[in-house]
């Protein structure tokens, strides 16, 4: 099958922009909207190649000051729109058993330069890549119960 090759050179706008929303909606009705899925980290890339939801091969080269986010339109023609869809960030939720465990866990995560957020007695680790790579590094904490993983 012939793979469509697309080029994006700027961020045209957002799919909620008043002027653009109607055009995007019209293209949606005739199934001409393609998405590219990016993680929060990946939105910082300015030169990359990516496959769209319809299998097109899309080469993206953007100015450094461009901003890519959920809903950014990078291609908009009579024939098609290509829109960024942000992959939701995955979190690993951890609960230390007591203060000692909390201190150690905090140190450990900082030492590994993980991105974390605090939520009450929970520590949340932002996952960049495979979850197993994080669990491996927490095995001693999880193994002896000093830290509990919350999955609900």
């Amino acid at each position: 099958m012939d793979i469509k090759k697309l080029k994006a050179r700027e961020v045209i706008g957002h799919c909620n922009d008043l002027k653009l929303a109607k055009r995007v909606e019209d293209l949606k009705k005739i199934d001409r909207v393609e998405y590219i899925y990016l993680s929060p980290e990946e939105t910082a890339r300015r030169h990359f190649r990516v496959q769209t939801s319809k299998g097109s091969d899309c080469a993206v080269a953007l100015p450094r000051n461009a901003h890519l986010g959920d809903g950014s339109i990078i291609i908009l023609t009579e024939e098609r729109a290509v829109i960024v869809s942000l992959k939701k960030r995955q979190w690993l939720r951890l609960r230390p058993l007591d203060q000692n465990a909390a201190l150690e866990l905090g140190y450990h995560c900082g030492n590994l330069h993980w991105k974390v957020e605090f939520k009450g007695s929970e520590l949340k680790v932002a996952l960049d890549g495979d979850e197993d790579n994080y669990l491996d590094r927490l095995s001693s904490f999880l193994g002896d119960g000093r830290v509990q993983r919350i999955t609900e």
Binding site: A44, R45, R46, H47, R49, A61, N65
Partner: protein, 211 residues
């Protein structure tokens, strides 16, 4: 002030990381002449701990005009300047971009570090991690974030495998397994083996050629 350069894509940025002595500079030395001869305009930034050794080596090597190479001293924590606080490197890259307005590509060599070092995508668009056969057959199994998360893993110095008792086939299988299908290339930077393959990735994924 001319701001027009803000509104068009600037040069692409590639990071090259990996442990001390794995062959990062050697890889640059292998790819630079091939990129230049196909008309790609280049700049290079290197990070060293407290010297500018690699920048000096590249400048003296005659492969590229010396004023297109900048050394940044990064102090004792080479991973900090490619991830948590890349300001010094961004400044160096922007200096090259201002000075050479037609650059297509900037290569950034990180100071030799451990298997945990990774690049921030705020600094580079795409990055390679260089390990070498001499470090032993079991490195992929150590699952360092650098080796797992890079866009392209390079296993260099395949020529020394008989001397260090490393079975390349086994290493290849393990590396591909931990990478979950992401690319791995085996190279010998001394004789150029595998280098065309590396260039093909750069041309396709970063320079966006073949369009």
């Amino acid at each position: 002030m001319n701001l027009s350069h803000y509104h068009r894509p600037g040069p692409a940025r590639i990071g090259i990381g990996g442990p001390v002595g794995s062959g990062k500079t050697a890889l640059i030395e292998a790819i630079v002449p091939r990129l230049l001869s196909s008309g790609v305009e280049l700049g290079i930034v290197t990070n060293d701990l407290v010297t500018r050794e690699d920048a000096e080596r590249l400048k003296a090597g005659g492969l590229i005009s010396p004023d297109r190479v900048l050394g940044v001293e990064c102090g004792a924590c080479p991973h900090t300047v490619i991830r948590e606080d890349p300001t010094l490197n961004i400044e160096a890259i922007e200096y090259l971009e201002r000075t050479f307005s037609s650059l297509d590509l900037v290569l950034l060599e990180s100071g030799g570090d451990n298997l945990a070092s990774t690049f921030s995508l705020d600094l580079v668009d795409w990055w390679m991690f260089v390990i070498d056969v001499g470090a032993g057959a079991d490195i992929p199994r150590k699952r360092g974030p650098g080796l797992l998360q890079c866009d392209l893993l390079i296993v260099n110095k395949i020529d020394i495998s008989p001397h260090v008792g490393v079975d390349i086939c086994g290493l290849k299988k393990e590396a591909e397994e931990v990478r979950g299908g992401n690319p791995v290339i085996f190279t010998n930077c001394r004789n150029g083996e595998g280098i065309e393959d590396v260039l093909a990735h750069i041309r396709r994924c970063v320079l966006l050629e073949d369009m």
